[in-house]
């Protein structure tokens, strides 16, 4: 099996394959046996792990790398989210990071030669009170200062763009909206597959059905991992297990400042195009966009109790549906097709952690809360930088593991700083 087997995707190739029975397509990545030793082992074959592997190989030339995935590539949260991409944060620490990520998104399809169906359709966050309007304008200014885009829309301007909203709800009338034109959506599975292909074609081993069962530490230094496919030695290990981060950390004798919660999402039957943007309701937890297949993809709040069950309970289904109907009564006639839950590693300040640990060579990326998808390019990029250079990337320099103890939390998205589900 050769590394350089990768074909290039192009319009011409699609045309040629279409005319010859589509017999020339090949597997997008290799399926190797694990080697006994690697320079770097990444635990978790989701968006962040695959992205990290891709950038390690492409930008740092480090290819003696394995990504260990207990299930199948892209089978976790990267395939279970609502696909939103945005850089609309207001606090230093997060602003520069998500700005970095959005720029990587904008070049991703060229970088990967893979269609991730990035659609910068614009995100509109609605506000429903004077205070919320002031806060949104302030956040918009912060976004502009960061170099990203934000436009405050008055109700008149909104009504031209989104005529189907209920502007005169007696309880929560719409005061305006913060419009982030470069935000949008991407095809989540394709993001995982594109990164997997990028990493694999440069020599990274993507090893599926390989669950890590132990992390080997000797004299304060990580030496490798135990897996269901045997022991693997490694000079460096990166734990990128999202909702399962605490179980990985426990193998290294660590506790993390995260609690895992379930977040539900929903999709309706396919409809003709009717919602052009990503829209969020500011007076209840509800956000929505329309997929390219036509389904309305929407979600709301956490179920609000710790869970690894990857499925939610009915009270939150009811709450999300009520909020949606309040905001846009027209969706009431759409039939809900499916719902699912993903496991969110909720940090106590609402911001992620990308850092070394006290164990030499052992690194951790966690605390992605319910926003890990938009961070996939940058999350992998900055972890690759940290693994390769030993230095924190400037765009992620504040995501330190010790910031909770030191009091330098990054409390965005209405976090409280001590209760893991309150943001």
């Amino acid at each position: 099996m050769t590394v350089g087997m990768q074909m290039r995707f192009s319009a011409l190739k699609i045309l040629a394959e279409g005319l010859t029975g589509n017999k020339g397509w090949t597997a997008h990545w290799r399926d190797p046996q694990p080697k006994p030793e690697y320079d770097i082992v990444i635990i978790g074959g989701g968006g962040h792990g695959l992205s990290c592997a891709h950038y390690l190989a492409k930008e740092h030339g480090i290819t003696n790398v394995a990504v260990l995935e207990k299930g199948y590539l892209g089978g976790g949260n990267v395939g279970r989210n609502t696909t939103i991409v945005r850089a609309n944060y207001g606090l230093s620490g997060n602003s520069e990071f998500y700005s970095h990520s959005l720029k990587l998104w904008e070049g991703l399809e060229q970088d990967l030669n893979y269609n991730v169906m990035l659609s910068q359709r614009g995100i509109i966050n609605l506000c429903h009170s004077d205070g919320q309007r002031d806060a949104f304008i302030r956040r918009g200014n912060a976004m502009v200062n960061q170099g990203d885009d934000a436009i405050f829309l008055t109700p008149d301007a909104l009504q031209k763009m989104l005529p189907f909203l209920d502007y005169e709800q007696s309880r929560f009338p719409i005061f305006g909206g913060l419009y982030h034109p470069r935000g949008g959506t991407a095809r989540h599975d394709a993001v995982a597959w594109g990164y997997a292909r990028g990493a694999s074609s440069r020599g990274v081993d993507l090893i599926q059905q390989c669950e890590v069962t132990g992390i080997d530490v000797s004299e304060g230094k990580v030496t490798g991992v135990q897996t269901t496919r045997g022991p693997i030695r490694a000079k460096k290990v990166a734990m990128m297990g999202a909702g399962r981060s605490s179980q990985l950390a426990e193998m290294a004798g660590m506790r993390l400042p995260v609690e895992s919660h379930v977040l539900q999402a929903f999709v309706t039957e396919g409809l003709k195009p009717c919602i052009d943007h990503v829209i969020s309701y500011g007076a209840g937890h509800f956000y929505i966009s329309q997929s390219d297949k036509g389904g309305l993809v929407f979600g709301g709040d956490l179920d609000m109790y710790a869970s690894y069950a990857a499925r939610g309970n009915l009270p939150m289904v009811e709450h999300v549906a009520e909020a949606g109907m309040t905001l846009m009564p027209m969706i009431g006639k759409a039939k809900m097709l499916r719902s699912w839950g993903g496991i969110m590693d909720m940090s106590s300040d609402g911001s992620p952690i990308i850092d070394r640990t006290h164990i030499d060579g052992l690194h951790v990326s966690c605390g992605w809360c319910y926003g890990g998808f938009k961070a996939v390019p940058a999350g992998g990029h900055v972890m690759a930088h940290l693994l390769a250079t030993g230095q924190h990337h400037p765009a992620a320099a504040k995501f330190r593991l010790d910031r909770f103890r030191s009091g330098r939390g990054i409390m965005d998205e209405e976090a409280t700083g001590s209760q893991h589900n309150l943001h």
């Binding site: 400042p257 109790y305 710790a306 909770f404 001590s418 209760q419």
Partner: protein
């Protein structure tokens, strides 16, 4: 999900507010030091299994209860008044 309140009996989950892991029943002493307090405020076991957690019966009797719940199945094994748990561990 239904929770068996020791005072009110079996009640809908919506009557309860979830606070988090039941760390507050073993709160460190005020002078326990920065590490103990960091541990108490931020760090969590977060097990994929049985978990002691604090719920508040806010739309019922107002009691704080310790619920022992399995985080992978949502099965509830035990519910105790937080006061009793705290006294038993004292």
């Amino acid at each position: 999900m239904r929770i068996e309140c020791p005072i009110c009996g079996s009640r809908d989950r919506r009557e309860f507010y979830y606070q988090g892991a039941a760390v507050a029943v073993a709160r460190p002493a005020p002078d326990a030091g920065a590490e103990a307090w960091d541990d108490y405020v931020h760090l969590r076991d977060n097990p994929a299994g049985w978990h002691d957690e604090l719920w508040h019966h806010e739309a019922g009797c107002g009691a704080w209860v310790v619920v022992t719940r399995n985080l992978t199945t949502h099965e509830i094994r035990d519910v105790q008044l937080a006061q009793s748990v705290k006294e038993a561990s004292a």
